[in-house]
């Protein structure tokens, strides 16, 4: 028999019988997070780097997470922000690859398509006010055309010869603007690697959520290549000269 419903004065709202009834779960804040991604164009294609740390607040929780992935033959995707949201996106993109493969039409996924696909997912989720808490950097090479694009949890997107997410936007982007902007077609691989390492070193020195174990990746005419984790040479001598707190 149904319970007798009592009409309460409108100022007193009855609680839902099932606490979960009508409630929707959303990402209201990122939980396990990855920090900056740094990327830029150079002579042969695009360079990108990200460290391998997954932080849980200030805790360095997982220390060998992969934040760079290849989609199709010539597209590289880097991510910062909530890593469970990223792993969901990874599934979605792998699904996309599988579906494209099953088409069996000798077509491959182009970088611009992947970028548009990710952008649409991000914008759709923000429109549901249920965002994927990430920033994505999408890089690729279609024939001779280099592509480097960004999209965040708002669906905001832009293309630029240099892109850095998170803290990188403040610490690495000025370095990239100085050393890359306007020289995208001149920079040889050797110099590009040096620039990338310099950016990641600065980030390691100053971003408390960063880690000195990172991967770099490049997209060239030969396709995508993601490195094994490596560490940077650091120099902490300057710490001696710091007087005051902790000195």
């Amino acid at each position: 028999m149904d319970a007798i419903k009592i009409q309460l004065p409108h100022t007193v709202q009855p609680r839902a019988e099932n606490a979960n009834d009508g409630a929707v779960s959303r990402t209201m804040q990122p939980i396990v997070t990855g920090t900056s991604v740094v990327a830029f164009k150079y002579k042969d294609g695009i360079m990108m780097a990200a460290d391998t740390l997954a932080s849980y607040g200030s805790l360095a929780r997982f220390r060998s997470e992969k934040r760079l992935m290849a989609v199709g033959d010539n597209t590289l995707v880097g991510v910062s922000g909530d890593l469970s949201d990223f792993q969901y996106m990874q599934h979605v993109l792998e699904d996309l690859e599988t579906r494209e493969l099953c088409m069996d039409d000798d077509q491959t996924l182009g970088t611009k398509s992947v970028y548009k696909y990710i952008s649409n997912i991000m914008y759709n989720r923000r429109t549901k006010v249920d965002p994927l808490w990430n920033s994505y950097v999408v890089a690729g090479l279609d024939h001779d055309e280099k592509f480097l694009g960004f999209v965040d949890l708002y669906g905001t997107r832009y293309q630029s010869p240099t892109i850095a997410t998170g803290f990188g936007a403040h610490l690495a982007q000025p370095i990239l603007r100085k050393r890359v902007e306007g020289r995208e077609d001149e920079i040889e691989e050797e110099e590009a690697l040096a620039i990338l390492d310099d950016c990641m070193r600065v980030l390691f020195y100053r971003d408390a959520r960063s880690f000195n174990k990172l991967r770099r990746a490049k997209v060239t005419a030969q396709g995508v290549e993601i490195s094994e984790p490596y560490s940077l040479e650091t120099n902490w001598d300057f710490a001696e000269s710091i007087v005051g707190y902790g000195g």
Partner: protein
């Protein structure tokens, strides 16, 4: 501007589950400025290309004025992701119109349609301030301006965006001849003057507004089509 309030639709699921005081705000302001000046048989449209988020510059070249398939230009400011989606939305409707009527939409039809598109999202608006420009059925310059929920007006000139407070009074004075006793306020500018004023407006706006700068996309729409040029603005 906080548009989150519009999300509370009058008819909706019971609010007690949803009325979290601090919900994630699904809007951002990407800054920038757009303007349009109508002439007798042309329109000048100008937008800077800086895309920013707070104090960060995302991109120095991220256009926010778009050529549409019917030969008009849509200049936007506000939330860039919404602007891109709005352009897709308009183009989709324009294509349907094209295939149904076997001709491109004229600007006045598109203007009315845009008002409808914006109003159809009255309770979760596109946070975009659009300026639609083209030549009307008589070949005269036409500029239509909107607020984000579809209020529409045909005007002779308009400035929108982060520097609109700086630029609009300038246009009132130099294009609308306001506060000038012997001037005819309905007089339209000649093409070189209109272009010059558009550029002057942006050099001034770039000087005083941190969200405006980098490059200026300039469109001149006339009988022959759309002529687009790109000029440099200050990068600071």
């Amino acid at each position: 501007m906080d548009f989150a309030q519009f999300q509370q639709a009058p008819v909706s699921v019971p609010t007690e589950h949803h009325s979290h005081g601090n919900r994630w705000d699904p809007y951002v302001d990407n800054g920038g400025t757009s303007l349009a000046i109508a002439g007798e048989d042309f329109v000048v449209v100008a937008s800077d290309t800086r895309q920013s988020n707070g104090y960060s510059i995302n991109s120095r070249y991220s256009p926010k004025a778009f050529e549409l398939s019917n030969g008009s230009v849509l200049a936007t400011t506000g939330y860039h992701a919404d602007a891109l989606k709005l352009v897709e939305h308009i183009e989709q409707r324009a294509q349907l119109y094209f295939h149904k009527h076997d001709r491109a939409m004229n600007v006045s039809a598109m203007a009315q349609m845009l008002s409808g598109i914006l109003y159809s999202k009255r309770f979760f608006p596109y946070y975009v301030f659009p300026i639609l420009s083209g030549l009307d059925a008589k070949g005269k310059g036409a500029v239509y301006t909107y607020d984000p929920v579809g209020n529409m007006e045909r005007v002779n000139y308009q400035a929108y965006g982060s520097a609109s407070a700086l630029v609009q009074p300038f246009l009132d004075s130099q294009v609308g001849f306001k506060n000038q006793r012997n001037a005819d306020p309905s007089r339209l500018l000649e093409r070189p003057q209109a272009v010059k004023l558009a550029i002057d407006a942006f050099t001034g706006a770039t000087e005083r507004d941190i969200h405006t700068g980098d490059w200026l996309d300039l469109f001149i729409i006339d009988q022959d089509g759309i002529h687009q040029t790109k000029r440099e603005l200050k990068h600071d």
